[in-house]
């Protein structure tokens, strides 16, 4: 088999795997169940909660990931290797374990103090955002570091010889040139946060209309053997995710030609 054929076969195998999984939902697809699920107040609340929490978590993750990734890309400092390694932490530790770690943290004196005096995270909306934030931060920073690595540092030097301060050079040269990575990092973080389940359920629980995100709702439907309802909610989640990915492709396409 030629290289072209074998690699194309692999590419279509990927499509077959994920496409097959989506198509297999049709076996249990029930129009009435989909209509009922989509129109249900509880589903709408879960979808709304998921969208708001994922958007907040991805935004907060980027606010921290952008400067952190820039530092890792541009500066040599003590502890750099450690920070770089820690970015993979959320990938190697399962989301459930991450959630459990957060829960344990909020049960130690510092965590309890934060809960009592700053913001209550456990079994709350803030807990959902925090769980998603912790899960996606490392991935966002890793993606952004790669983007900053691709912008030659020489351009910043040139900008500075033209009178720009380091901050001005960052905002007018580096960040615009890393915009594709920035958009990709936000979308990936957002999509990962949207589908986040393990850490969320550990920290925020499963309170209907309060901490029930779409993935949690899917889990609860499946746990109660409501297969048609599960399929309907999966379709809602898949539709939102695919719409976001499509919008991203359009945005990235524009960013390339901008």
């Amino acid at each position: 088999m030629t290289l072209r054929r074998s690699t194309l076969a692999a590419a279509f195998a990927v499509l077959l795997l994920y496409g097959g999984l989506i198509l297999s939902l049709a076996w249990f697809l029930d129009g009435a169940a989909v209509r009922s699920a989509v129109q249900s107040e509880r589903t709408l609340a879960a979808a709304r909660l998921s969208l708001v929490a994922a958007t907040l978590a991805a935004t907060l993750a980027l606010l921290l990931a952008v400067p952190a990734a820039y530092a890792l890309s541009r500066y040599r400092f003590r502890g750099r290797e450690l920070v770089d390694t820690v970015l993979e932490f959320p990938i190697i530790v399962s989301p459930a374990a991450l959630g459990a770690m957060l829960l344990i943290f909020f049960n130690n004196p510092l965590g309890e103090w934060i809960q009592d005096n700053v913001l209550r995270f456990v079994f709350s909306f803030a807990g959902i955002v925090l769980a998603q934030f912790v899960t996606v931060l490392g991935v966002a920073a890793r993606l952004l570091k790669t983007s900053f690595d691709e912008v030659p540092a020489e351009l910043e030097t040139v900008a500075r010889t033209l009178g720009a301060t380091p901050r001005h050079a960052f905002f007018t040269v580096t960040l615009p040139l890393a915009r594709r990575g920035l958009i990709a990092a936000f979308v990936l973080a957002w999509a990962k946060a949207l589908g986040e389940f393990g850490a969320t359920i550990m920290v925020a629980g499963t309170m209907a209309m309060r901490t029930e995100t779409l993935p949690v709702a899917i889990f609860l439907r499946l746990a109660s053997a409501d297969i048609e309802g599960t399929v309907a909610l999966i379709l809602v989640l898949v539709s939102i995710g695919l719409a976001a990915l499509y919008a991203t492709r359009r945005l990235l396409g524009k960013a390339v030609h901008a």
Partner: protein, 355 residues
């Protein structure tokens, strides 16, 4: 204008040691050296990207140590030009004024003048990615000059261009230098470029300055064997000083004897350095010439080249001469032909073997 004194810089395992260099106002000073000699390290230290370990860099009398890049008053055109790909040419040129908060009325006249001088007017609304190498080069130069730098740093800016385009841009730069009275520090490994653009030259080898001075002096009278090799001196042969009288040295090279201007330290073993263009060839040995050295020689080979051909001779030692194609045909130079090689005593440069 620029004074670099006893500069020592470490960049990874490389070290630039004890560099002294001065650039006068309005001068173009070329730092010449092969890859890895420390040229870019020197430039990045002047820029402020690399910290210096020892020594000092002063610009117009002001110590630059600790001064941020943006306040050094430098214009910089790097090897890859550093044009901002997301901005149009117009916005690239306006970057400096915007970064410094200069009103358009103040910077626009100079930009207009530079744009006109370099002919980049039709490119103003294009992105750098759509420009040719030569166009990018002009834009890079104009952008650096539009910020009214006190000193312009050029880091092999013409390296990626073809020969004819390079020569065209050398003229552009020379004209800009004249118009704007620029002071330039040029980093290059190209001898021809340095000779064309610079007034003075510093040769850097293995992180050390090995020779400095007027370009003709450095080119024709290399101070050390390694400088001569780097400068590509065509004839570089071991010799021995037999006698020094009235400021002239008689040197034995191979089986021949040459008359050379005697340097102060002319004695014992030397390296004889003769540039190819300093050797004149005649078929007639009886021609009266002012040149002190008349060497009977036999043509070994004629190496094709453009615009000059290199003739390898056996004159009792291997000797190389540059001749035009027309002269080559007129003299009927071919292997085994006999000629007389004429070399002025001032064109025979002696390098002490201990240098």
């Amino acid at each position: 204008m620029l004074e670099i004194e006893a500069l020592t810089v470490a960049a990874g395992s490389f070290r630039l040691c004890d560099v002294n260099l001065g650039v006068e106002r309005g001068e173009c000073h070329a730092v010449l050296g092969p890859s890895g000699s420390g040229k870019s390290t020197l430039l990045h230290t002047v820029l402020g990207v690399l910290p210096l370990l020892q020594g000092s860099i002063r610009l117009e009398g002001k110590d630059l140590t600790g001064v941020p890049i943006e306040r050094r008053g430098l214009g910089y055109v790097p090897q890859q030009l550093g044009l901002f790909p997301h901005l149009t040419v117009r916005n690239n040129l306006a970057y400096s004024a915007r970064a410094r908060g200069v009103p358009p009325a103040e910077f626009q006249p100079l930009v207009d003048q530079l744009v006109a001088a370099t002919g980049i007017g039709p490119l103003l609304d294009r992105r750098p990615g759509t420009l040719s190498g030569g166009e990018r080069q002009r834009v890079g130069l104009v952008r650096a000059l539009a910020s009214r730098p006190r000193l312009v740093l050029l880091d092999e800016p013409f390296g990626a261009l073809n020969e004819s385009l390079r020569r065209e841009l050398w003229w552009v730069l020379r004209e800009l230098r004249r118009q704007q009275q620029l002071t330039v520090l040029l980093i290059t490994h190209d001898l021809t470029e340095a000779y064309f653009l610079a007034d003075r030259v510093t040769v850097l080898l293995n992180g050390r300055v090995v020779q400095q001075g007027d370009k003709a002096e450095v080119y024709g009278r290399p101070a050390a064997p390694e400088v001569a090799r780097f400068l590509g001196v065509e004839t570089l042969q071991p010799g021995r000083v037999l006698e020094v009288r009235d400021g002239l040295a008689t040197v034995e090279v191979g089986t021949a004897q040459l008359i050379a201007l005697a340097p102060a330290e002319a004695a014992g073993d030397v390296l004889v350095s003769i540039r190819g263009e300093e050797v004149m060839l005649r078929r007639d040995s009886a021609v009266a010439e002012s040149a002190r050295n008349h060497l009977p020689a036999r043509v070994v080979s004629v190496r094709p080249g453009s615009p000059l051909q290199c003739v390898e001779l056996d004159a009792g030692f291997p000797l190389f001469a540059f001749v035009t194609r027309a002269a080559c045909e007129e003299l009927d130079l071919r292997p085994a032909a006999t000629v007389t090689a004429l070399i002025k005593a001032s064109a025979v440069h002696l390098i002490p073997r201990s240098a």
